[in-house]
């Protein structure tokens, strides 16, 4: 009898410790890992971009005017970063890598670009998903976004400044129309260069989604420095 009670209580303590450890893992450790992973993705991008900008300069010197026609942009590679997003409203130091596709493993390393939506800056809807909670909490302050806020992205050659027009808009997880090329409830009526951000709502749940829509406001080459929206 004593052995049974002792084993049972030991089991209860073990399960309790396990649950506590799991909470620590979800709340704390996923953030630590994600911060490291996101910084690594951003480093990868900066590496790529510094190589890219170094190459045209050296070839331009050798071939002269023949390098005037820009090469067609490379397709996005699944699970690989291709841009960095800045949202001043979420914090002046807030910047996250944007990776191709929205797989669970991709979203652990940054924001995910819906693979079948438009490319950055192109006509259509550039749609991006991100974690609200866990894995670095990238979109934890999502409800603070307001119309007029800037969403700035760079792909290494161009700065894209989007302005939020509508949101945060709450919808259900099956509402795939929100990432259509012309999202129905966004108020847009014509084709244009749009951006959609999605995350989960409520903070720790998955019953709804929060959406914001933005349109492309301006672009400028990286050589001209940061866009006005990022200057303090």
């Amino acid at each position: 009898m004593r052995v049974v009670v002792r084993t049972l209580s030991e089991l209860c303590i073990t399960v309790g410790t396990l649950i506590c450890l799991f909470v620590v893992y979800v709340l704390f450790w996923t953030g630590v890992r994600a911060d490291g992973a996101m910084n690594h993705q951003i480093d990868v991008l900066h590496d790529q971009w510094s190589k890219q900008t170094a190459r045209p300069k050296s070839t331009a010197g050798a071939t002269g005017a023949s390098s005037a026609a820009p090469a067609p942009p490379a397709p996005y590679v699944a699970g690989k970063p291709f841009a960095i997003m800045y949202i001043p409203r979420l914090g002046f130091t807030w910047n996250k890598p944007v990776l191709e596709n929205t797989a669970v493993s991709t979203l652990k390393k940054g924001l995910g670009h819906y693979a079948h939506t438009a490319r950055l800056g192109q006509v259509g809807n550039f749609a991006v998903a991100g974690h609200r909670r866990t894995y670095g909490d990238p979109f934890v302050d999502f409800p603070r976004l307001r119309p007029g806020d800037a969403v700035v992205l760079t792909d290494g050659t161009t700065w894209f400044t989007y302005r939020i027009d509508k949101g945060p808009y709450k919808t259900v997880p099956t509402d795939v129309e929100v990432i259509d090329p012309v999202p129905r409830k966004s108020g847009y009526t014509r084709a244009g260069r749009y951006l959609t951000l999605t995350t989960c709502d409520p903070e720790w749940g998955h019953s709804h989604r929060l959406i914001v829509w933005a349109h492309l406001d301006s672009t400028q080459p990286v050589e001209e420095g940061e866009p006005a929206a990022l200057r303090r």
């Binding site: 450790w29 819906y114 929100v178 720790w204």
Partner: protein
């Protein structure tokens, strides 16, 4: 359970405590490295897309 493990560890009290500590750390490592990453997607925090891909 824990008493059984304790009795089967070799050495004196200090050696046993050291081995026990190492075992605990090993268990925590396995949990954080393999078990929790597997269990975490079963929770709803990963559902941030509208098309459930």
């Amino acid at each position: 359970m824990y008493g059984w493990i304790w009795r089967h560890l070799p050495g004196n009290v200090w050696v046993r405590a050291l081995i026990a500590l190492a075992l605990v750390l090993l268990v925590v490592y396995v949990l954080f490295q393999y078990v929790f990453p597997w269990a975490e997607p079963l929770l709803p925090f990963n559902d941030v897309t509208v098309d459930n891909q």
